[in-house]
Symmetry: C2
Subunit: 281 residues, 2 copies
Amino acid sequence: MELWYTEEHTNNVRFTIKIDKQIHSEQSPFQRIDFFDTHEFGRIFTLDGIIMLTEKDEFIYHDMIVHVPMAVNPNIKKVLVIGGGDGGTVRELTRYNTIESIEMVEIDQRVVECCREYMPQTSSKLDDARVKLLFEDGIKFISNKENEYDLIIVDSTDPIGPGEGLFTEEFYRNCYKALKDDGILVNQHESPYYNNTARLMKRTHKRIKQFFPIAKVYQAHIPTYASGHWLFGFASKKYDPVKDLDDKYWNSLGLETKYYNTELHKGAFALPNYVIKMLED
Amino acid sequence: MELWYTEEHTNNVRFTIKIDKQIHSEQSPFQRIDFFDTHEFGRIFTLDGIIMLTEKDEFIYHDMIVHVPMAVNPNIKKVLVIGGGDGGTVRELTRYNTIESIEMVEIDQRVVECCREYMPQTSSKLDDARVKLLFEDGIKFISNKENEYDLIIVDSTDPIGPGEGLFTEEFYRNCYKALKDDGILVNQHESPYYNNTARLMKRTHKRIKQFFPIAKVYQAHIPTYASGHWLFGFASKKYDPVKDLDDKYWNSLGLETKYYNTELHKGAFALPNYVIKMLED
């Protein structure tokens, strides 16, 4: 028997993975949740038929969404994670002893429960004493926060379905308000390559730029996301992600990372011309 | 009717593209040659069922294989291209008025003839007066050259089939000999992501390092190659690709590029930790 999982990256492009077996499947109140064991990527976790993470390469996404802001401001103490139900972002954050509080607001409690059961590689640090899990709508949660966080990480699905509201102007305005004067907002920022995600990427950047004086985009190689060329947004009231990189401090921490390093940090903000042009449009 | 092209990136991973129609197909003395029109990528060109280039993203590969060495040494006058039958590498080289001679040694004359007919986007500059086309075995061609070239670009297929001999120790030794004292060797260097190509990537780097005092690896996002995370090798007797980058000079040329810029040049050499580790092993 052969079992193959197929994801449509566009209407004309498909990415197909050989499956060993399906581990779990359910429809939560918000989305379809699946786990598979694969020969190539180890266990994979999908939402509504889109790969969220694989055991093989989740380190790339989680390194880049966490260590980039942490290496810019070593004084980050209070962090808000919106989404991120698999726990990978929290896992990386808990490696910093200087962080005092991590609130994770995940709309779908079943994602967290399933990842605790089927994806221990990412969910292992959700019980850290500094972590507070809140199962509610991140959009509502942030609307009445003011001057409270040093860092907000939006670790969301694509802007279709439950993640849609995390890409609106109102949401970014509320993130700005919820951040302290030297606060940083990092979010997953889609891909520039295929037209469908490029459109979302441009719109997202345009919206964030309205509120944040510093709004940059950085890239990583994530082969299990559409096109493998994935972007993150770095927005701040004060810090430039390259000029203010505190590489001496970060390297003094001695954290072992499989993807991130401070040279790559600088390199990740050096975008191809066609992406720069899209962001300027 | 639906027509789909499928490429196996590994035994367990498939990349599938919707085809509008097949434009040409033949078996040359060396390999199977195909051209397709696609909805997503425009025309695509494959050899032995592996995508060599697509109209949509060939600019990424050709920008990175040509402009990186050209921005390091502005005095490059005599260039040897081994492989590169589609003409994209030659096209980018002809944009430099300072280059006096480009020899292109392609083993398969039918690749060049087919690309002239079916891929004008890349083959358009093969008639430039400075270009000399030689349809012979690059391995033999280079074996009796000495102190002759400023730049050798190995624009080859994977090290399986006709491209195999372009990844051997003997070949790199001959490249070293064929280069002048300040010569540069650039080659396509496979991908670090899947085990099958990572093995070839490590072996290639190990072999090049034996002969060249400076041997670095740089990366680009090429979504239509396996994993989208593709590497190039930069080897030189004298020049460091980052320290010796002459960005002022290169930017003064005013060349328009869709992928390459001199900030990205520096960033491309900042590799992820897992790739650095593979190269050091």
